[in-house]
């Protein structure tokens, strides 16, 4: 059938081979078919090939050619036929066959040679590949991320549903074999990549950058699509040039991150130090500005630190225990005291408030730090000020009391306690009205407190207080009603001992009074000089001129009269000048008080006026004695003038009967009266008689004097802050009333 060469080749090929007739019957098998398929030539020849090896999809009644032709047409991917080999004693397998065109053999019969390409290994591999591919597709379709593989020529080879879901606008361009760049361009035209912008330039730039990253991926990139989604692209170039890419939708993550960033901004604006701690590693994940400033680290530096790094002398076990406690009590703030170490090594005390995030698997702890060093500084400063204030209050020269509304004392300073000679413990809880000894003052105090209102919360008044040493002191009290929540809460009373200042004030007033008197005296003196002294001078001048005229006219008839008048004027002047001198020397002499009894002064007056008393026959009677505290010299002068006045203006037929008496009519005031039985003084003249040079009786022959005695007596009384007046009700003569403080 075959020539020798062809037969030799047929038998020497390693693949099983069959010589098949046009009707499909086998006319010869080669050695490989016998050995590998364990076929026997005798059992095989004459058997239909497709009966022995069923051709896939072949019909039983079809001829071999037809069957192979149909199959060839039905398999566009391959021009090879495939058969199922299923022989007894051998594992069945599929294999490709190669069929030659029919050739006329030497016996004139047309036959085709059919070779099996292998004996099942290739198909096995192919099946395995197909199975793997099916499995891969199933697996890819099961994952939500977009998955795609591009070959070394950047053509799409594999992709899943997730890939299409990620880029819905590019689905139409996603076909096996399409280049990545074309898919991108299609997506750009659809406006899918919002981050690429809307101009040609921006899109070209984006495309360039995207392709660069696609071919040389260094890090995952995040795309922002037009529908608002964020897509993370992780690509990797394999050794054979394939590019594998996974697209993940990280929109929620990005939104969470954005929220976290916002939270970070908010936390940065919080003055208190705040930090997030990773539970597992105890690493600081985040610290706000205050936290960083306290510890002197930068944001990058702080995230490299753990709790051990920032806690001074930290015990890792204790830290872990504390973290466990925080986790166990998640949602509840746990407080601890610690000492944080700054970057420069300094340490500061702090209170750490920690709270664990909720959830089944918490990862972070939120930490609020209170820097106690500042609080301590403030506390120390407050303590210092409190001590300073207390010292200040204790050393203030004023009484300070804080009391309830019913005057129950709950604070009093040392000065107040000392004043009453009691201890602070004895005073606390006692009503301060108990320290007041008169009902009138208590009532005044109660009225004062009752008058305090929110509109007028302060009242000031003077109060006489009896100190522990038995001396009355004048205290100026200022009561202030203190309100709390709009309601009267307590009374704060501040008292100042003004006894000394009152005395000083009284002295000043006395001095001012004396000064006023001196000024008045000066004015009066000026008036006297201008009036009373100028008048006799003028008389002397005019009478002198008259004398001159008389003399020039040779008339001396009135000489004696004029000279007599000139002489009277001169005498008058001398008398006035002497009186003025006396007045100015005595009336405003500084008052030097001393203690003496009235009788002593009267005795000296009697001695001074002894001649007058003897000549007039006057009788001076002191009705009662009295202890006095006055200027002795001035008082003697005063009484002397009054008694002299009584003697001077006695009635013609009656020697003066002068009655002197003393009595304390008011507190600290003595009243001394000098009464006589003389000619008396009309009541309408009562005020005039004390003026300097005022004389009620012009007849100097009978009533001598310049009219200065009573004026001088009055000035002396005023110098002692007293008064001298005429008792106008007294009708039996004159009665002078002297009232002076003793």
């Amino acid at each position: 059938m075959l020539d020798e060469i062809s037969l030799a080749f047929f038998n020497s090929t390693p693949n099983p081979g069959f010589l098949v007739n046009e009707d499909g019957t086998i006319s010869l098998i080669n050695s490989a078919a016998c050995s590998k398929l364990q076929l026997k030539e005798d059992d095989t020849i004459g058997i239909l090939f497709h009966k022995l090896f069923p051709v896939v999809a072949a019909q039983n009644n079809e001829k071999f050619e037809a069957i192979t032709g149909v199959l060839v047409e039905k398999d566009p991917c391959s021009d090879k036929l495939r058969i199922l080999v299923s022989l007894p004693g051998l594992p069945s397998f599929r294999t490709q066959i190669t069929k030659s065109d029919p050739q006329i053999c030497r016996d004139g019969v047309k036959r085709s040679i059919v070779y099996m390409n292998d004996h099942g290994q290739v198909e096995k591999l192919k099946d395995s590949y197909e199975n793997s591919l099916t499995l891969l597709n199933a697996a890819l379709s099961a994952i939500p991320e977009g998955f795609a593989i591009y070959d070394e020529e950047d053509r799409l080879q594999v992709f899943n549903q997730g890939y299409m879901d990620v880029y819905p606008d590019s689905v139409d361009a996603m076909k096996i074999g399409t280049r990545f760049e074309d898919i991108l361009k299609y997506g750009l035209e659809q406006g899918q990549y919002e981050e690429a912008g809307f101009t040609e330039e921006s899109r070209a730039a984006w495309l360039k950058e995207r392709l660069k990253n696609h071919f040389n991926p260094t890090a995952p990139l995040v795309q922002h699509l037009k529908d608002g989604r964020y897509i993370r692209v992780d690509e990797r170039v394999l050794d054979d040039g394939h590019i594998v890419g996974i697209r993940s939708n990280i929109t929620e993550l990005m939104e969470t991150k954005s929220l976290a960033e916002s939270l970070g901004d908010a936390l940065d604006n919080i003055a208190a130090p705040v930090a997030f701690i990773d539970i597992e590693t105890q690493r600081i994940l985040y610290g706000n500005t205050a936290f960083l400033n306290n510890l002197q680290y930068t944001p990058d530096e702080i995230t490299q630190l753990t709790l051990m790094d920032i806690n001074h002398n930290a015990n890792p076990e204790k830290i872990s225990e504390f973290i466990d406690k925080i986790i166990e009590n998640r949602g509840v703030v746990q407080q601890s005291r610690s000492q944080h170490v700054r970057k420069d090594g300094t340490v500061y005390p702090c209170v750490v408030n920690s709270i664990c995030e909720n959830g089944d698997n918490p990862k972070r702890i939120l930490v609020f730090v209170e820097d106690e060093s500042i609080e301590r500084e403030i506390r120390e400063e407050l303590d210092y000020r409190r001590v300073q204030q207390e010292t200040f209050i204790e050393n203030l020269p004023v009484f300070i009391i804080r009391s309830d509304l019913d005057t129950t004392i709950h604070f009093a300073n040392e000065l107040y306690c000392d004043f009453f000679g009691v201890s602070l413990a004895d005073i606390i809880g006692v009503k301060f009205t108990e320290f007041i000894h008169t009902e009138e003052i208590i009532q005044n105090l109660k009225n004062c407190l009752a008058s305090l209102t929110m509109e007028s919360p302060v009242r000031t008044y003077e109060q006489e207080m009896l100190s522990s040493d038995g001396i009355f002191r004048t205290v100026l009290w200022t009561n202030r009603l203190v309100f709390k929540d709009g309601e009267p809460h307590e009374v704060v009373s501040v008292g100042r001992d003004i006894t000394d200042s009152k005395l000083a004030k009284a002295q000043i007033e006395e001095q001012a009074h004396a000064l006023t008197l001196r000024n008045q005296a000066l004015e009066q003196f000026a008036g006297i000089v201008s009036h009373d002294l100028r008048s006799p001078l003028r008389h002397i001048r005019l009478f002198g001129e008259m004398l001159m005229e008389e003399h020039e006219s040779g008339n001396s008839e009135n000489f004696g009269d004029y000279i007599s008048r000139i002489r009277s004027s001169i005498l008058r002047m001398e008398s006035l000048i002497s009186s003025l001198l006396e007045f100015s020397q005595v009336a405003y002499k500084q008052v030097n008080r001393s203690r003496f009894v009235l009788s002593t002064a009267i005795d000296e007056v009697k001695e001074n006026l002894a001649q007058n008393i003897e000549q007039s026959g006057a009788v001076i009677k002191l009705q009662n004695d009295f202890d006095l505290n006055l200027d002795y010299v001035l008082f003697v002068r005063l009484m002397q003038n009054l008694i002299d006045n009584a003697i001077k203006y006695q009635k013609d037929d009656q020697p003066a009967q002068i009655q002197i008496s003393a009595d304390q009519t008011e507190k600290n005031i003595v009243c001394i009266t000098v009464a006589d039985n003389g000619i008396g003084i009309a009541s309408e003249q009562a005020s005039r008689i004390f003026n300097v040079f005022q004389r009620l009786h012009v007849d100097e022959k009978k009533y001598k004097g310049t009219g200065i005695g009573l004026a001088l007596a009055k000035r002396i009384a005023e110098g002692h802050n007293g008064t001298l007046s005429l008792d106008t009700d007294y009708k039996d003569g004159s009665k002078f009333v002297l009232k002076v403080p003793i």
């Binding site: 201008s530 009036h531 009478f543 008259m546 008048r565």
Partner: protein, 140 residues
Amino acid sequence: MSSAIEEVETITILFVDDNPDEFVLMEWLVKGGVDQNTELVCVTDIESACKVLDEKDISMILLDNKLHLNDDFRTSVPVLRSKAFTGPIGIVSSSIEPEYFQEFEQYGADFRIGKNELDRNAIGFIIDEFAKKDTKLSDD
């Protein structure tokens, strides 16, 4: 236009002062300082002055400011005016410095003068100025 003056025969001046020496001096001044006939009536107190006013036709009163029983002209002038005296009253005083002298017109006085200013010329001027108030002026 021309005028004719008809002179009053005698000018009567009432002088009130508590110091009799002043009478002697005033008579001397008037006598030497006034040409026409003058009569000086001197009294020491207001009561006496009032009596004179009842009895005589007084051309002018010269009143001492400080009379013995009265404080000053503020009380004495009204007393004199109460006697229906409408003629000039002049206050003479050792001192006219006190402020109340600025209000002399308010109390009914017409002028004031210090005693040290009084001389014959001053007296002549005062009489010409005040005591001749009743001189008649007639048109031609």
